[in-house]
Subunit: 332 residues, 2 copies
């Protein structure tokens, strides 16, 4: 039930209305691994430079993260700098230095190639394919990507999308890929490539799970057929009165999802839904502090409490049959 | 259990990627009354000009809508023209002609002043106050507004907000009023004016109900206190693979909410939640055709089916206690 994750480990400069942090631990792989390690064993496949602080390596190791697949290459570590304005919805990237990541090719240690759960964080889809070529018969593979690859390497990305079980993208990325503003039709376009499920991340609006097919709803059916309630699941974001730094929200959403699935092994419809809720809850903690600071002190009880709050937040009763016993209006 | 609604009845020119309609029946009051008449008796207080087609009057009357408060004044009817681009999220207003609406003052027929449920559609807050001065002891009052009044008549609007039970605004309006991008804090700002509930309309992302207080959560508590699941309710928009014309979505959301409350008389927490779901379901039908065309043929069975679909769409099970019996990770 261990998870193999391939992606970036880096150093970030981040500025938000709540402050600024210089060369803090960042990267999709770091965020994912830290959050997912709450659920199960996580193995990182990534690269850092010789400038990468030993304290960061110690921190990752102390979280029981398997670092055997972390290469240390001559040169500087991947560096990213971004700024969030008042509305926190849009991040302006100020600088990206690939550094040692430019020549990175994932090499998966022999005994990790049997990992049951594989998460391909947002990296060049060619590297994602290299990983898929190396792993043997994983139980579940999932992939994240971004606008940049959709625009610049759509063909390669399409192949990667067609080879994984679960695709995670945000709302604008789904629309961009499908060239369709309607989210249901855009989701259908991606599901037709082959994945069993698409999870659409909607930031402050939560997430939507779209399944290629469901027991009473074959793949060919219209997306707005009667089984819409079975093929789709919508979870809100956990409401917060203070968001400090949105960096890593998407990566830790994926970690909550994959972590829950890996820990429970539950790939049923209900299990996938609970996994999505774990994703949205995990992301809500991430954004309450800079870097992985909130995640480091996160407890299972805190996760559970928000999970239950979210259930209460979204619960409503069935319509009562007797509310409209004599309903008979016929509009002209 | 009848509903009194005050607002605009007008003629619209609308253009969307799905077509264009010329001088069709429009106005917040029209949309609201048509949708709410599915639930209960609705009384309109509004004004039209002498150019208003008799067929529209006949149509409204055929929906059992009480038109005794509809004034017919010398001059032209309120006219609005708008255009939705491909993304359907933003409406560009091309023209607004107040016409007879410019001199409108609501006069509520004597026997309608005892209406139990009063909805103040989006009009000048001074007129909304005039209505509140005329009605006698309503059971529930609700109000809609828009950016224009928040910017131009904030003081008057604030008085109106403080005198109603339920406020309905969209996300950007809540933020604009409170001058705070964080939605929970912005909601708190409005609730502190006096209303028991604020419903934040989020378009394609659904709606959030925020209560000033809840049984185990007094008004003074932090918005992110443990009772967040009790004070807030979040419902998604009903997913659609084709949106033809978003005009009237907000007005008919209000109609589903008010209609359900008026019909059932249920002001409990659970009743308010079901009412919000009726709002989101009603709006989903509205946007599937131009003007009130989809609403005219809407049946109770169709409403019920989407209500149940939405329940299935959002349902997930409680966390299972035995999933993490040995959970013991302590992050450093």
């Amino acid at each position: 039930m261990s998870i193999l994750v391939v992606g970036s480990v880096g150093l970030d400069d981040v500025q938000t209305p709540f402050g600024r942090r210089h060369r803090v631990l960042g990267g999709a792989c770091t965020y994912f691994a830290t959050a997912a390690s709450l659920y199960t064993q996580v193995c990182i496949v990534a690269v850092v430079g010789t400038d990468f602080p030993q304290e960061h390596l110690d921190l990752l190791a102390s979280q029981r993260i398997d670092l055997r697949g972390l290469q240390i290459a001559e040169g500087d570590t991947f560096f990213w700098s971004g700024c969030y304005r008042d509305d926190m919805d849009v991040c302006e990237t100020l600088d990206t230095q690939l550094n040692v990541f430019a020549d990175f090719h994932p090499t998966i240690p022999e005994d990790l190639r049997d990992a049951e759960y594989v998460f391909l964080a947002n990296i060049d889809p060619e590297l994602q394919l290299e990983v898929l070529d190396q792993v043997r018969n994983p139980r579940l593979t999932a992939l994240d990507s971004m606008n940049f690859w959709i625009t610049s390497k759509k063909e390669v990305l399409t192949e990667a999308l067609s080879r994984v079980d679960v695709v995670l993208l945000n709302e604008s990325e789904v629309r961009l890929y499908a060239q369709d503003h309607n989210l249901l039709r855009a989701a259908q376009c991606i599901l037709e490539l082959g994945p069993q499920a698409l999870i659409i991340k909607r930031g402050a609006h939560g997430a939507m799970l779209a399944l290629r097919e469901a027991p009473s709803c074959p793949a060919a059916e219209s997306v707005d057929a009667g089984c819409v309630g079975e093929r789709f699941f919508i979870a809100p974001a956990y409401p917060l009165d203070r968001v400090v730094d949105p960096t890593g929200a998407g990566d830790t959403f994926a970690a909550g999802f994959m972590g829950y699935v890996a820990r429970t092994g539950d790939l049923s419809l209900g299990g996938m839904r609970r996994a999505v809720v774990h994703g949205t809850v995990m992301a809500s903690f991430t954004v309450q502090d800079f870097s992985i600071d909130r995640l480091r002190s996160l407890t299972w009880e805190e996760l559970q409490a928000r999970y239950e709050n979210l259930r209460q937040l979204t619960f409503f009763e069935p319509a009562k049959g007797d509310e409209f016993p004599t309903f008979s209006r016929t509009l002209v």
